[in-house]
């Protein structure tokens, strides 16, 4: 069964410093991996995805993620954190269901807090 793990409940970073939010996955076959962000009292907002190709994926708001097949990881990164990046971040994998429009399996989330 497909699954993702986010080992950190919370990550604290000073504004201007680089940030990393960790994610590891377990899939059969080629993984379809995603990062979503959730601001307070809001739905999920798509940040980026890895389907195939370059291991470094660039997404919205200056975020990027590095796919590492040997370590089964898909860590989210940003070179310089902003206070406005403070939110809840979810790593997710798309299940190999009946079609390309298959269900998403989410990690437990990591709360990112950026201090001024």
């Amino acid at each position: 069964a497909q699954s993702v793990a986010q080992p950190e409940d919370q990550v604290n970073v000073a504004e201007g410093n680089p940030l990393t939010v960790k994610c590891t996955y377990s899939v059969s076959g080629n993984p379809y991996l995603f990062w979503y962000v959730q601001y307070p009292n809001r739905g999920l907002q798509f940040l980026l995805k890895y389907i195939t190709g370059d291991n470094l994926v660039k997404g919205s708001y200056g975020f990027e993620a590095e796919f590492n097949k040997s370590q089964t990881s898909f860590h989210l990164k940003k070179p310089s954190a902003l206070v406005s990046d403070s939110a809840l971040y979810f790593c997710a994998v798309r299940d190999r269901g009946w079609s390309s429009a298959s269900k998403i399996i989410f990690g437990s989330g990591t709360r990112l807090s950026i201090r001024p």
Partner: protein, 114 residues
């Protein structure tokens, strides 16, 4: 281009009641998925609709049912509400004909069961 919309935004019900939540997909999308997000947890897949049929279902009881209309909008119905059904219910839409589709989420409906 409107994104995914959901209604209502908030809802309060009592145990045993029934509730209906609504979702309109993003323009050009034909597939709707529903997720339940309990407080402090990641979203859990409930079911997915395409061509007005339930195509996949997560580990949820039959009290949870749905419907998709010809215009691709969808409803989630929950019968015999339990306190544990209190959660944020998220709708996501996608397009089946794109092999690398992304699911886009609405703002959610926050349900409180008393």
């Amino acid at each position: 281009d409107a994104g995914v919309t959901q209604s209502p935004t908030h809802l309060i019900k009592t145990r045993g009641q029934q509730v209906t939540l609504r979702c309109s997909p993003k323009s050009g999308h034909d597939t709707v998925s529903w997720y339940q997000q309990a407080l402090g947890q990641g979203p859990q897949f409930i079911f997915q609709y395409y061509e007005e049929e339930e195509r996949q279902r997560g580990n949820f009881p039959d009290r949870f049912s749905g419907h998709q209309f010809p215009n691709y909008s969808s409803e989630l119905n929950v019968n015999a509400l339990l306190l544990g059904d209190s959660a944020l219910y998220l709708c996501a839409s996608s397009a089946l004909d794109r092999s690398q589709e992304t699911q886009y989420f609405g703002p959610g409906t926050r349900l409180l069961v008393l």
